[in-house]
Symmetry: C2
Subunit: 633 residues, 2 copies
């Protein structure tokens, strides 16, 4: 066994569904690695096909192309060892759905030939642990090592052998294989016991708020416990599941067996580093890994990266943002101003009958500060003309036997205005401008459907729909203080009460705004959506009853001050829970793609079925007891 090896970690941007393009990038990187005299060049999991590609896995022509690309990489491996992830087929066997057998595979191409684990059926390593939660669905497409072991009448452990290259035993694992805390088997431990002297984890692991900290903890602990260095190579770029767009930040690194970590290219950077890795057990290597929480700057980085890449993916270079003078649209406009040149960004203010001079002025000021294109298209006349046409309309059956009269009440008029802005003005302006328009909804609104379908919920991408309203404010401050270094989002936008300004009840200048108390409701909704064990009204009411709710939610205000009685608390809880499970969900189904930056963005990471509004019997019993105790009806 050599004392150290020289490895080139290639944190490449994988283009999902584009094997040819990815292979071209890999061939270039192999040439660079050769110039650097690297022993190993290491690419991420699914470097050739991409990872989140929907049912593209079921296209046989695509699979054949991936196979041909892997052959090209093999042929290019003369004189060194290339480690990479791709899909591997066994055309003689079937998956359990009857389609061709596919593996999420780790390939080792050494000097022109593939090398597999000793005693295994294939010249590649098969992923052992298949994540099947959140946005992951490995078992939908790939046959795992544990099922393979059953089929072969062997134990999984017997199939987990190191890959031997130049006298060095490599422990080759894929992504989840190292996140083994909740599995009955630990591939890394098995491989170490079988003599692996260097672990290589190749991953396709999306960015999630605070995941880097967890990653450093998990891999640092593995390296220390196994007394074996671990190379970690992850992809960058964006990949999506249709409704949910994920960013990949890379964070490739080497974790030393005696502690320490050497970082690869920066977050969201495609690039490569060459590192000489000592192999003797217990060798310190690099600096101590940073164990810190992510902050608003990390969210900002992910949002701008993801939005820029999504625009490129869609081939879009012009964007229209409807701006109201409020916080959400201002933040979105400011984000896009960091991505697009000012003549490719068009802000549209669309004052309605209830738009205040204050917000009108704030929208103007934002446009001045950003220096981009700007226009004002009032919607007062068009909304009024729709009202005149429909309100009081006498509708009959052709034979005159049935009739009704339509009425446009206040709620109907609110939505007419919102749809007029998005579906009539913005969509047409975007088309005439040769671009798209944005969805400015935040996660608080999306949770309870405090948006209008075909209105403000329309747009090509919901860039900030994974941020709670309170986080949107934090991002606004970060933009002014750090990104722009000056008041770009007008201070007034941060100071006014948030309001839809769609009716006389929502008068900003009188301080009347949204029905949500964001500091509280954001925490409540977060517990419904983002907690690992999502809460339901039963949990919430139990904690309310025993006085621990504020602490549980980490809400630092006084819940008693918000709700004078149990009846008021329950009415609020049920109001928003019913919106969340009812209209909110119906609207989310038709919402634009959401840029995911945290755990459980709406869409593929948070699967929902329309089932009506439901409460458990335990909730109903507790509610009854609480209301009886406070003498409420």
């Amino acid at each position: 066994m050599p004392e150290s090896i020289r490895a080139r970690l290639v944190q490449m941007e994988v283009r999902p569904g584009c094997p040819g393009e990815n292979t071209a990038v890999m061939l270039d990187a192999i040439a660079s690695a050769r110039a650097e005299r690297a022993d190993f060049v290491i690419f991420p999991e699914m470097a050739i096909p991409g990872y989140l590609i929907g049912d593209e896995w079921e296209h046989v022509a695509f699979l054949r192309e991936c196979e041909a690309c892997a052959e090209e990489i093999r042929a290019a491996s003369g004189g060194l060892t290339v480690l990479f992830g791709s899909v591997a087929m066994d055309w003689t066997r079937r998956n359990e759905d009857g389609r061709v057998r596919k593996y999420n595979a780790f390939f080792t191409a050494h000097d022109g030939a593939f090398v597999g684990p000793a005693g295994g059926p294939y010249p590649f390593v098969v992923k052992t642990l298949h994540p099947n939660y959140r946005e992951f669905e490995d078992s939908r497409h790939f046959f795992g090592l544990r099922h393979l072991a059953l089929e072969e009448n062997r134990t999984p452990e017997s199939l987990l052998a190191p890959v031997r290259v130049n006298g060095l035993d490599l422990g080759c694992v894929l992504c989840e294989d190292a996140w083994d805390a909740d599995y009955a088997i630990s591939p890394l431990r098995v491989l170490r016991a079988r003599g692996a002297a260097l672990m290589v984890n190749i991953s396709a692991s999306p960015f999630t708020f605070n995941k880097r900290r967890k990653r450093n903890q998990v891999f640092g602990a593995h390296a220390a416990a196994l007394r074996c260095p671990i190379v970690y190579v992850n992809t960058v770029g964006i990949q999506n599941n249709g409704k949910t767009v994920f960013t990949f930040d890379g964070a490739s690194a080497v974790y030393g067996s005696g502690g320490g970590m050497a970082a690869g290219p920066g977050p969201f950077e495609s690039g490569a580093v060459t590192l000489d890795i000592p192999l003797d057990s217990g060798a310190a290597f690099g600096a101590q890994p940073e164990i810190r929480d992510d902050g608003i700057a990390d969210l900002y980085a992910a949002l701008t990266y993801g939005t820029r890449r999504f625009l490129e993916l869609c081939g879009v270079d012009k964007v229209v943002v409807g701006v109201s003078g409020g916080i959400d649209s201002s933040v979105v406009a400011a984000l896009y101003s960091r991505i697009l040149p000012p003549d490719a960004l068009l802000l549209v203010s669309m004052p309605g009958a209830y738009t205040s001079n204050t917000t009108r002025g704030l929208a103007d000021a934002l446009a001045r500060n950003l220096g981009c294109l700007y226009t004002v298209v009032p919607i007062v006349d068009s909304a009024e003309s729709t009202r005149r046409r429909l309100d009081g309309l006498d509708v009959r059956s052709p034979d005159g036997r049935r009739r009704t009269v339509l009425r446009c009440g206040e709620r109907v008029m609110e939505n007419i205005q919102a749809r007029d802005r998005s579906a009539r003005v913005l969509a047409a302006v975007a088309a005439a401008f040769g671009g798209v328009f944005t969805c400015n909804a935040n996660k608080s609104e999306a949770t309870v459907g405090y948006t209008t379908l075909y209105g403000d919920l329309g747009g090509f991408l919901a860039s900030i729909a994974d941020l709670w309203k309170t986080e949107v404010y934090a991002l606004a401050r970060h933009l002014n203080e750090t990104v722009f270094g000056c008041e770009t989002i007008p201070r007034g936008t941060l100071e006014i009460v948030p309001s839809a300004e769609l009716s006389a009840d929502q008068a900003v200048e009188a301080g009347r705004g949204d029905p949500l108390v964001y500091p509280y409701h954001d925490r409540l909704f977060q517990s419904w959506v983002e907690w690992w064990n999502r809460t339901t009204p039963e949990d919430i009411l139990t904690w309310y009853a025993d006085g621990t709710l504020a602490a549980k939610l980490k809400y630092d205000g006084d819940i008693g001050a918000l709700f004078p009685s149990a009846a008021a608390f329950i009415a609020d809880l049920e109001r928003w829970w019913s919106h969340y499970q009812g209209m909110g969900l119906a609207k989310r189904i038709q919402a634009p793609p959401v840029l995911a930056v945290k755990r459980r963005a709406f869409g593929f990471d948070h699967r929902e079925a329309q089932m009506g509004v439901r409460y458990t019997r335990a909730y109903t019993d507790l509610k009854r007891a609480l209301l009886a105790r406070c003498g409420c009806p």
Copy 2:
């Protein structure tokens, strides 16, 4: 062992996510079974919780409620045996995502106690085969018997034991356990070898066109091969995954060991039958199972059932349909007229600048024939007023340094009209009427995005979006000939050329309509979407080149007559493929829920990622060769 047993098959309508309601239904059914002196009362898989319920499985309060409900069923089983499916928890273990251990379980409650398989760790049967394709995702939530075997260091076969009740060995399996063709293990065969004398399969298996035929084949063959009767109990109702709404038709039955089948309640009927089932091996039982293809009448039944139940689920009792005089909206209006009373159905005709007198008259005639509410709201003035406001609009940055002029060309105006109809008129009319409006898109349009976002792609439910255009015509004929028994959808609607009538190019009266040749393109798109092995342009072009395309697609026209040259064929193929993978997909992400009636409705059964338009290298090579051969550039 008894000579025969009396079983009550309860084909119940399961309300997903509503354990209390489902349990109440089950308790009633147990009382009826007792009155019938049944030995066994058999409910479907996941009878208590429902099956397609998204991530509701991760709500601990919900799981506890399901557990309590199962206890109620157990307590009610005095004097007989109750077989039912539900979720089972092992609170001492974890799933691989770290959440509580959950099983898709088959419970046997016998005279007040749960009875599990001999030698197993639990008093219930654990599902062995987890479907993880199409809309199914059992492995996301449940721990399967094969993983349990690995964890327990046993073989799966050793855990597959019959459940013994009153001296009878029952082979208890869940749904996919019987669809074992592509698995390394056959639970039914193992159970038969271990002495099971009666097989019981409880299922939650959605309706799919022609699935009943396949089901009769599979279960009939199992019963014959095992020489053992099989009881099959499936659920009815609707369940959804948000984007995709599935109907369940039941089709519960008993398959005799000597051939034959006794059917339970009719398709989509909630009800129960009591059957005396002979247990001696080889006993004939009932009539030969019907092995026939489904037809348009079966689609009609599924569509009306699913739409009716979805209205109930959403609490909606008034519906608005925008009618153009064309085939899609006419069929949708006719479907709803079979579901709602005429004063709860409002048709709205919205003639625009390019609407012909022909289609205007057809919309009028349809409304007369259906006798429901009807009104005409022209959009000519409003579309023109949007054009006047935006076309030529001079847009500048506030400092005047940047500027552009907006232009509303023909395509922009087409979409302005479509959005004006849906997002301005229909949405407001529906709100004022106190109801919802429908999406009338068909599968051909949805495939290639031949629809307008926030326009005709809007609506609360896309009832016919799983039907190709040619199937919509077939349904129209079925409605007239069989359902109504008279010309309800005007003959003219079936005879005119299909057209969007959004521009001068789409003049119905001049015979100018959609750019799709539906009899051909429907078959082409079907091969991309619905075939088990979905085709790609590489397959299509290969078949075109070798002259087998028409036969492969079962297209009975002449492809050479449609496309005079390879260049023309390729241009058409790439036009629609790029729409399918590009704008079509972007639109589908924001489409309403689709009522699924066939394999691979858009949504959860056909997972798509936005990745741009892609062709394999083999396709590109073949295209180059074909074009060179025909002398095209």
